[in-house]
Amino acid sequence: MLSYLVRRILTLIPLFFGITLISFAVIHLAPGSPIDVLADLNPKMTAEAKQRLISYYGLDKPLHERYYQWLRRFASLDFGVSFSPDRRPVMDKIRETLPITIVINALSLLLIMLVAIPIGAYSASHPYSAFDKSLTLFVYIGFAIPTFWLALLALILFSVQLEWLPISGFRSLDYARLSLAGKIWDMVSHLILPVLLSAFGGLAGLSRYMRGSMLEVMRQDYITAARSKGLSEREVIYKHALRNALLPVVTILGLSVPGLIGGSVIFEQIFAIPGMGRLFYTGVMSRDYPLVMGILTIGAFLTLLGNLFADISYALVDPRIRKGGKG
């Protein structure tokens, strides 16, 4: 088990450098420079002033030198200072936006699991039934509907018409003066729509995967054997099939992290949530190289972590790996 873990972690290291290298290259080969955004077309900014800004930000140094310096600082978790006029450390910016993005994504991932696994299992145990078909349709509608459109429609219904939920942001203006219960409800009410909608969109992937995995398991010999032993269909499905069908699903969870993180741009934009997706988007639009680099790396790092986590849980439930066999 330990050697398995060590091996897994070792393979992550080259991946990590690949990730930083690719993002660094993508960012720096693009035309344009952050100085333009900084200066706008200010009538009072001379060419000389621009040059001053360029050397101030080190943009006149060659590419490999900048990457090397970035890596060195990265070793101490220092992503450098943002190009935006606030000149704040990138790490500070990520630190204040990451939690909210993680909370929303973790909640929606949880919700996806809670809904998609039963849906998938049920569909697989009644394949091609009317119910299976309606569920299929339901999860695919969630996937196929443009999220920002559905989000606005939901806002109009639940927040403007019915006035049940707040519209935007992640806490109210008078948050500080609320009681504890009030604070919790305030947070929850702001998160309901983003989490629900994000989960609705992600349902299809996991539930269809679960269904496929379950169908596959159901054809295995040991299921047939279990049936022939006279176990009830319920017992067969929930005691034997489900557990085995869940194994591959665990691994796909790790892979769904980047998709969720990417999707948060849209949600954070529409619900005005100050998360990392929006931070990234503004960073991209203003060519805030250190910031974009930092977030891409953190995003990839989270994915790696998700994969590792999935690997570990897989190993924990799969005896072949646990006993040191090949993974």
Binding site: A30, P31, G32, S33, P34, I35, D36, V37, L38, A39, D40, L41, N42, P43, K44, M45, T46, A47, A49, K50, R52, L53, Y56, V81, S84, P85, D86, R87, R88, K93, E96, T97, L152, L155, I156, S159, V160, E163, P166, I167, S168, G169, F170, L173, D174, R177, Q269, I270, F271, A272, P274, R278, L279, T282, G283, V284, M285, S286, R287
Partner: protein, 569 residues
């Protein structure tokens, strides 16, 4: 800073009087703004007159929440170049001078000033007894420190140029600040806004670019900084010791809502008290009873104009007749009708109608496709091969207009122009490019044929940097390479002349030449369209907009929506 609308990104900074300028709330989202202007609106006025008749008592208290599409970046004015930052820092930090209601320059932190030595020397007498928000007294040394900081080459500021004209600056005593200019410089006085006033006791010996003060500003203004939750909100609270009297409204909150549709829903649900409307929102979405009862809308011409600029190095556009023809072929009224829904006026030159230096009697280009075709024929362009496209020397008349991504109004303008030109046989392509690449790769390198952009203008007519032939270098603002010796002379003279009548004559002539030459097709001056909750009283629209007197706004006792907040002494 950057955000979807792009307006906050592509907004061009006003000249000279920047800080004064940004004291106006820049509310509108779909038009360039920053400046506000004359209220030529009658319906609002009458609405306001009614409410003024009942005249409720001013009262302290309540909170106003403003919606902004982008977050502020830095609340030290000289370090920020986005209007979101300037809007907020303008409430916190005063300048030496400001514009009053009638666009007259009056003292802010300066009590009075004296211009001597033929305009070369200005001596400011500062207000006594003013304290910074942390209780430290404000003196002339703070102004001197600010001046030294902004002219320090290591300060990453975009506003140093006006202050480089200064030969000598000194604090004669605690309340006297004196500057001497090298040459007469007409825009001198207006430049002493809030860019150059910094709390020396907090910044001395520190790197201003990395200073905490950009996140937690300390000023002398009507509001003091309370809290900034990045990308979410900035909360200001009334300064009880403000030298013009404590503001009525307790708290002023700016909420960041990046999506226009969401922001409007938030307004509708009561979560916002003021925001800038788009023309469609103004015309079509806010006319029902609910909005009429709960909100007041305002409109005034923004201090900005949008133009179609031609690269004069391009052989096609070298011929004046071609540029004039294009101006005739474009239906400005159609653009205003479709894109702005009538909320704007046709531009005739680089200045906004109504200002003292605006010249209404210049050559105009009403929509006239026949005249356009005639002029083009004169210049050698006609459809010889019958393919529907004009040609000259076997070359079809084709060009690409570039504009920046993120500004739907500009993009729609481009589409309307494209359709018009198509009808007279000119093929215009539209290329929308992300802002920074657009400026760096195309505008700065002059690698463009034509462009749709906008300038924010001010209450000072000097536009030396935009039109002077010495400013045609790479990365300079006369990127269309306009060169005209008479214009050069006028611009130089205008800067060195103090007499308003003389200057008026100078800039009138400048406008005549520009109208004749059409280096740009001046398209339109949009209107700023703020909307404010109707419980707010004390708003007096002026050429500056509405928010110049924000500290005098109030909500009468019974109408207050938010609890009184306890202000620390």
């Amino acid at each position: 800073m950057a955000d979807r609308d792009g307006d906050s990104r592509q907004r061009f900074l006003p000249k000279h009087n920047l800080s004064l300028f940004f004291l106006c709330l820049s509310l509108s989202l779909s038009v360039s703004l920053g400046g506000c202007s004359e209220d030529k609106r009658t319906e609002t006025k009458s609405q306001r007159d009614e409410s003024a008749a009942s005249h409720p008592q001013p009262a302290y208290g309540d909170t106003l929440v403003e919606g902004s599409i982008g977050d502020a970046t830095n609340l030290i004015p000289m370090l920020a170049s986005d209007s979101a930052s300037h809007n907020i820092s303008g409430l916190i930090i005063n300048g030496l001078v400001k514009y009053d209601k009638d666009v007259k320059l009056v003292g802010d932190l300066a009590e009075s000033w004296e211009v001597s030595q033929g305009g070369l020397q200005i001596t400011f007498k500062l207000r006594r007894g003013v304290t910074w928000h942390d209780g430290h007294p404000f003196t002339a040394r703070d102004v001197l420190f600010g001046f030294q900081t902004i002219t320090n080459p290591n300060t990453p500021t975009a506003y140093a140029e006006d202050f480089r004209q200064v030969k000598k600056a000194e604090a004669l005593d605690d309340y006297t600040f004196q500057v001497v200019y090298e040459k007469p410089f007409a825009p001198a006085l207006t430049s002493w806004g809030n860019l150059v006033v910094l709390p020396k006791h907090l910044l001395e010996g520190k790197d201003i670019a990395k200073s905490e003060l950009g996140r937690k500003p300390v000023g002398t203004g009507p509001y003091r900084f309370r809290e900034w939750i990045s990308r979410d909100r900035v909360i200001l609270e009334a300064n009880p010791n403000y030298f013009e009297g404590r503001p009525y409204i307790d708290r002023y909150v700016t909420r960041v809502i990046p999506d226009l549709a969401t922001m409007f829903l938030e307004l509708k649900a009561g979560g916002l008290d003021l925001m800038g409307l788009t023309p469609i929102q103004y015309k079509r979405q806010t006319g029902d009873r609910f909005f009429q009862q709960s909100y007041h809308k305002y409109r005034y011409l923004a201090n900005a104009y949008t133009y179609l600029g031609y690269n004069l190095l391009d052989p096609k556009f070298k011929d004046k007749r071609v540029r004039q023809a294009l101006s005739y072929a474009i239906d400005k009224e159609e653009i205003i009708k479709v894109v702005l829904l009538g909320l704007g006026v046709a531009a005739t030159g680089p200045y906004k109608p109504g200002l003292w230096f605006y010249n209404p009697d210049v050559k105009k280009y009403p929509f006239n496709p026949a005249k356009a075709l005639a002029l083009l024929k004169e210049a050698g362009w006609e459809d010889r091969n019958g393919d529907g496209i004009l040609d000259k020397d076997q070359e079809p008349f084709e060009f690409t207009v570039m504009t920046n991504e993120g500004n739907p109004v500009r993009q729609r303008t481009a589409v309307v122009i494209q359709e018009r030109l198509k009808k007279i046989g000119i093929r215009m392509k539209i290329r929308v490019i992300e802002w920074s690449a657009f400026i760096n790769e195309f505008i700065d390198k002059k690698d463009f044929e034509a462009t749709i952009l906008g300038w924010t203008t001010g209450f000072e007519p000097d536009q030396y940097d935009i039109w002077h032939s010495s400013k045609t270098g790479k990365k300079e603002l006369n990127f269309i390479s306009f060169k005209n010796s008479e214009v050069d002379e006028l611009l130089e003279k205008g800067r060195r002349t103090f007499d308003q009548e003389e200057r008026k004559a100078i800039y009138s002539r400048l406008q005549e030449i520009l109208a004749e030459e059409q280096p740009y097709t001046f398209l339109y001056v949009p209107e700023a369209l703020p909307i404010v909750h109707s419980r707010v009283y004390g708003i007096e629209p002026s050429p500056l907009g509405i928010s110049y007197n924000l500290h005098r706004w109030y909500v009468p006792q019974g109408l207050q929506r938010y609890d009184r907040t306890e202000l620390a002494p």
